[in-house]
Amino acid sequence: MINNENAVELRDIEMHFNMSSEKLQSLKEYFLKFMKRQLHFENFVAVDKVSFDIKKGDVFGIVGLNGCGKSTTLKIISGILKPTKGSVETQGVIAPLIELGAGFDMELTARENIYLNGSVLGYSKKFMDEKFDDIVEFSEMRDFLDVPMKNYSSGMVARIGFAIATVTTPDILIVDEILAVGDFLFQQKCEERINKMMQDDTTVIIVSHSIEQIERLCKHCVWLEKGKVKMIGETAEVCNAYKNTKRE
């Protein structure tokens, strides 16, 4: 059972990927390989025995070099990926902002996409009707509402995405680098909103390559290295240690 004070508990999480260069996609290939006993799977461990707790109301950062398993860990927390081993427990409604434009169909207009994306997150039509103006207001995209999203810039897509995901106060908000594409004014606006959520006891999990942003927002941090927890604790400590990493 999850401890009542924790929003997320990870216990010995492992995520294995099959990295064999050729993915078998046809029955014929499969049978041939099977007969020749060539069905080898090159195992790659992207996340290796990671355990940590995130307290309710915490703002929690994950730092680490490219490919160290940050996004994979976030996907495991939000239920998108099922870990190969270990247990994940979470409490409350999760709003994941894993990647830009998740749940958008670029052929449709922003107006249509707001409803589509809302339903992807499990919000009802009535709820979206009520919140529609909020979303448009926050994203500052009113003039572009009836333009197909394929004609949007990446920052504009991020604005709409962030506005939809944060229109409720989710219990857990997961942000994977998407703040980086907004301009500095919008970044400030997002940070204000995150700060406000913190006061409302939302747990926020942030991945960012901007150490300043992590230092500014987060209370606690974990530093992942090659899929393992290298260090965990107060943001200042972890970030200082991380900043001192040398190129090998």
């Binding site: 998740a102 449709l108 809302g118 339903s119």
Partner: protein
């Protein structure tokens, strides 16, 4: 909004939460299908009519196929074909539904059965348009609806459940083996000829003794039962008797067996979808 714990998601709370998504996806498919076509929805009515015209000329006029005493061929054909088309559209579009939703599946948590289910619902929407064509042909050919016609949702629901089950199975397997798409295309072609759409099960009574096995294949084919049921109620008084309790039991058993099997395979496979997309 219900609370969602990663490893305690219940089927029913998920289903309720994602109903609006199902609706939105159907609406999206609808918009994309009928956008930039002048006749739009009318195509769903005209298409079966044209096919019916051609096939009636070939099979009735040229080949002189008989489907039973006093049974109008054009009506016989279009009633059966409409349900078959629903089934074949539902299953063949579902087949690749998980693959084409990869972008979503990789980024957000959504119960994955939504995608094949959505294709089946969308096929059902298209089917309801084709019913206009069915009704038109019936009126033109003088096969008038009776009170029994109102029972038509029953075989449609049986067929829908069967199609959902098969769709779950196909969409899951296709993620692992892409050539299922081609295989299923071939299977559908054989399947349509082993379903009484252009001929009737009654004519099979005259089969040579050595060919009796064809009859058994037909009876093992669930589509035979759904289509015959559908005809029996829609064309009541002209073709077939009202389905007995036994027939209902057979239909329900076949539908639920397929749904159970499909759901089982899907559930076993869905955890690993994301690694293969």
């Amino acid at each position: 909004m219900s609370s969602v714990a990663t490893n305690k998601r219940s089927f029913f709370s998920d289903f309720k939460r994602f109903m609006p998504l199902l609706k939105n996806l159907v609406a999206k498919d609808f918009k994309i299908k009928y956008r930039r076509s002048i006749l739009g929805v009318a195509w769903s009515v005209l298409n079966p009519l044209f096919t019916m015209l051609v096939l009636t000329i070939v099979f009735k006029v040229i080949l002189r196929v008989k489907v039973g005493p006093g049974v109008d061929f054009a009506t016989y054909y279009i009633v059966g074909a409409s349900l078959w088309n629903f089934f074949s559209e539902a299953t063949s579009t579902s087949l690749s539904s998980i693959l084409t939703s990869g972008a979503l599946i990789r980024k957000v948590y959504i119960p994955k059965y939504i995608f094949p289910l959505e294709k089946c619902v969308f096929a059902l929407v298209n089917f309801s348009f084709s019913l206009v064509a069915v009704l038109a042909v019936m009126l033109i050919r003088g096969v008038y609806p009776t009170w029994a016609t109102l029972l038509f949702p029953i075989p449609v629901i049986y067929c829908f459940i069967f199609a959902c089950g098969l769709s779950l199975f196909l969409s899951a397997v296709t993620v692992y083996f892409r050539d299922v798409q081609h295989l299923y295309g071939v299977l559908l072609t054989m399947w349509i000829y082993l379903t009484p759409i252009l001929y009737s099960t009654e004519t099979l009574e005259q089969l040579a003794p050595s060919m009796q096995f064809v009859k058994y294949i037909l009876y093992l084919n669930p589509m035979t039962h759904y289509i015959n049921y559908f005809r029996a109620v829609v064309m009541y008084g002209v073709y077939g008797d009202l389905p007995s309790i036994e027939i209902n039991v057979v239909c329900i058993a076949m539908s639920l067996a397929m749904l159970g099997f499909g759901a089982l395979v899907f559930k076993k496979a869905e955890g690993k979808f994301i690694l293969h997309l």
